[in-house]
Symmetry: C2
Subunit: 245 residues, 2 copies
C-alpha cells in the first residue's frame, strides 16, 4: 500500500526547505510536479541536484492557455479535466508506490496541489508537509520585520477589482499582494489611492539566486513580472528604543 | 568578528524546521531564546536534543507581568528596558562570537526578536533565517486546503476591539486570529456576528505532540488557551471535480 506525500518546498532557496521535505525528496522513487508545457518548472528547479539517479519523474503540464482566456469557462473546464486525469493517475500509482509531489511554498496556501488533494479524498492515502510560504520568503528577503503588535495583515490577489483592493488596503496595516503580473498597474493605482504606494516593495523570485527587490515606485510601469509579490510592512506599536533612559 | 543569527524554528515540530536552521542550531556554541521567567520556554523545548553538549545558553526572561497590566505604560517601559539590555549584551557577545537566537515560527512575523533586530542595527552583523509561521503549521494540522483562487485572507489579533474584528471579518474569506487567550469570547462573538462561527477551528500547539484541534463551537466558553490560533478556511473558486463528464 503506497501513498501520496505533497512536500512544501518553501519559497525557493533549497536551504529553506523543511528537514522532513528534504529527507523525503532525497529518498523518493517517484516524483511529480506541476509545470507549464515546455518549461523546466519552478518546483523541479528547486530540487535540482537532490533527486536519486533512478527516480521516475511525472511532469504535470498545465493545459496550454494561449488559445483561451485565463478566466473563461473553457479554460476552467480544461483545468478541471487536467486535475481529474492526474488525480486518477496518481491514485493508481499510490496503490503500490510512494509518490512525492513537489509544491512551491506551502501546499495549502493558494497551491495547485489542493485540486488534487480534493479529488484524492477516499481514493489514496495523502499526506501534506508544510512549507515556508512564498510571502514569508519575500518579507525575509527584504530583511525588515513585517508585522508588529496589533497589525492587521491582508493577503490580497491582484485579480480583485481595483475598488475591492482599495477597500481592503484602506483597512490594513501590513499587506501582501500576490498574482500581480499584468495586474501590477491596478495594484499600484490602488496603493496610491490609499496613500501607501511609497511604502510598497516588489519582490521577484524571493530567496532565489536571481531574486530582485525593488521599491514599487522605482519599477517601470511596463515591467510586470509574473512571479512577483508586492509587500507593505506594518508599523504597529512596539516598546520604544532607549527604555533605560 | 562574530554575528547574530536568528533562526526561525517553525510551528513546533522540529522536523518542520528549515534545513539551514537545523544545521546552524546543531553547530551552535552560543544559543539565546526568550521565555517566561520560571518556564522552560517553547523555543528551547523545540530544540531539545539538538544542542551540542558544551553549548552556552542565554535565557532571555521577559519581565514579570503579574504586578502590572499587560498594556500599561509601566509594563511597556519594563519591556523596552529588557530589550535594550539584551541587545547590548548580544551586541557585545557578537563582537567575537556567533550567537544563535531561537525564535518560534518566522522571526519577522509578530516575533519578539524584531525588538532586538531594530536595536542591533549598525551595532552587530545580524542575519535572520525564515521559518514556517505558526498559522501555516496550524492550517496544515487541520489537514484541509486553506486559501483558494481570489480568497482574501485576513490575519487579525484578538486584542482588537470586537467592532474592528467584525469589520475585518465581514470582508474576509479566510481568517487567522492570533493572541486569543482571554480574548476568545470576543473572537467567538465577532465570528457569530458575521455568520462564520460554525466554520471556525481552534488549534492549540499545532504540529506539536500535544496538539489539539477542535471546532470553536465545541470549545467550552471558559476554556481560553493562550497558545491557540483560530482559523476559518476560504472557499474560493476552483475548477469543478468531474470536469471530464
Amino acid at each position: 500500500m503506497g501513498r501520496i506525500i505533497c512536500t512544501g518546498l518553501g519559497p525557493g532557496d533549497p536551504d529553506l526547505m523543511s528537514v522532513k521535505s528534504d529527507r523525503l525528496i532525497r529518498a523518493a522513487s517517484h516524483v511529480a510536479y506541476f509545470r507549464k508545457a515546455g518549461r523546466a518548472g519552478q518546483a523541479r528547479r528547486i530540487v535540482e541536484g537532490m533527486l536519486a539517479a533512478d527516480v521516475t519523474e511525472y511532469a504535470m503540464e498545465y493545459p496550454v492557455t494561449t488559445e483561451m482566456p485565463f478566466d473563461s469557462p473553457e479554460y476552467n473546464q480544461a483545468l478541471a479535466q487536467f486535475y481529474d486525469a492526474w488525480a486518477d493517475r496518481l491514485a493508481r500509482l499510490a496503490q503500490t508506490e510512494e509518490v512525492i509531489v513537489l509544491c512551491e511554498g506551502d501546499p495549502f496556501f493558494y497551491g495547485s496541489f489542493m485540486h488534487l488533494h480534493t479529488r484524492l479524498q477516499g481514493r489514496a492515502k495523502v499526506e501534506v508537509i508544510a512549507g515556508i510560504t512564498g510571502m514569508t520568503g519575500c518579507w525575509n528577503a527584504i530583511g525588515a520585520p513585517f508585522t508588529w503588535g496589533d497589525d492587521v495583515l491582508s493577503v490580497l490577489m491582484a485579480t480583485l477589482t481595483e475598488q475591492d483592493l482599495i477597500t481592503h488596503m484602506a483597512r490594513s496595516d501590513a499587506m501582501v499582494v500576490m498574482k500581480t503580473g499584468r495586474n501590477l498597474p491596478k495594484v499600484r493605482s490602488a496603493l496610491r489611492a490609499v496613500g501607501r504606494l511609497d511604502d510598497a516593495w516588489l519582490v521577484e523570485r524571493g530567496t532565489m539566486p536571481t531574486q530582485r527587490i525593488a521599491r514599487l515606485v522605482d519599477v517601470d510601469a511596463e515591467d510586470c513580472p509574473y512571479f512577483a509579490i508586492v509587500l507593505v510592512h506594518g508599523q504597529g506599536r512596539r516598546p520604544e528604543i532607549g527604555g533605560l533612559e
